[in-house]
Symmetry: C2
Subunit: 149 residues, 2 copies
DNA sequence: TTTGATGCAAAGACTTTGCATGCTT
DNA sequence: AAGCATGCAAAGTCTTTGCATCAAA
């Protein structure tokens, strides 16, 4: 079983288990930044021996290893959402449902490239704050539910 | 007691109580987007007859009325943070502590004005998403604790 | 074989709710 | 006087933890 995923885990100091594979696959396939429970529901269908605690533990391990990120859950209910932390830094957040969806890649890039790096640098110097990631959120409302979810 | 705050509440259909005054004042004075519990701690010092449930209820009422906003609590612990929803749309989020601080007003404006409205419009048309608020978060780390908190 | 991961259930943290009482309007 | 807001405690979510068992390395 020395596939790509195994190697990814290994490079990040994580053991490669059946559960972690399933969770990682579900997370990276999803376009909608699922919550821990949503992931659990997806994964349980494919693999019945799976507990919600493991999903939480695994996500925490992924986050520590840099394989995933928590993104805020400020919408409807207060649950944390996760993503695999690609370069999708433009989110559409629905005020009502709490859903978070990536903006189309091309538009995201075109919008983000307008943010001037020299101002970010100035800010870092002035405040004593190190910026790791620039995250632009457009808060609003979907006219209809995205992703069919 | 027909001061400014009373009028603000009244315009938003809210009764003006001692507790709501205290909570609103504490929230608008704070530069650091407190959690419900942090607000409770601040306010309890000044007004002993104050319950945490009231803080939550009041914040919920403020949010419904548009007097405050929830902002995500994706940092350390998972508690929601609040602000009075001025035009401070550039936040510095500390990965480690979960603290959220406004960027200095001038810098925030200078950075945000670079985001081209026509691209936002294009996105709204393409996705069927109505943007109410543009929120830019710089995620990273403070070299030392901000706000003395 | 060693060591970390899993699953279960219990505990913990954060938030909401029901209801009697009090206060604003 | 009427009706919303408060306070308390209990209930509800979401998340973490302890511990025995299991599996990856």
């Amino acid at each position: 079983m020395s596939d790509e995923l195994q190697q990814t885990f290994c490079e990040h100091g994580l053991r490669c288990t059946r559960q972690r594979r399933a969770i990682y696959n579900a997370l990276s396939k999803s376009c909608c930044h699922p919550t821990a429970d949503e992931l659990f529901q997806m994964v349980k269908k494919l693999d019945d021996g799976m507990s919600l605690a493991t999903v939480y533990n695994t996500l925490e391990a992924f986050c520590c290893a840099g394989l995933a990120y928590k993104i805020a859950g400020c919408g409807g209910n207060g649950s944390t959402r996760y993503d695999t932390g690609g370069d999708d830094h433009l989110h559409l957040r629905c005020r009502k449902t709490g859903h978070i969806v990536d903006a189309p890649h091309d538009l995201g890039e075109r919008i983000l490239e307008h943010i001037p790096q020299e101002l970010i640098n100035e800010l870092q110097d002035r405040i004593g704050f190190t910026v790791n990631k620039v995250q632009l959120d457009l808060v609003g409302e979907f006219k209809k539910s995205p992703c069919g979810s």
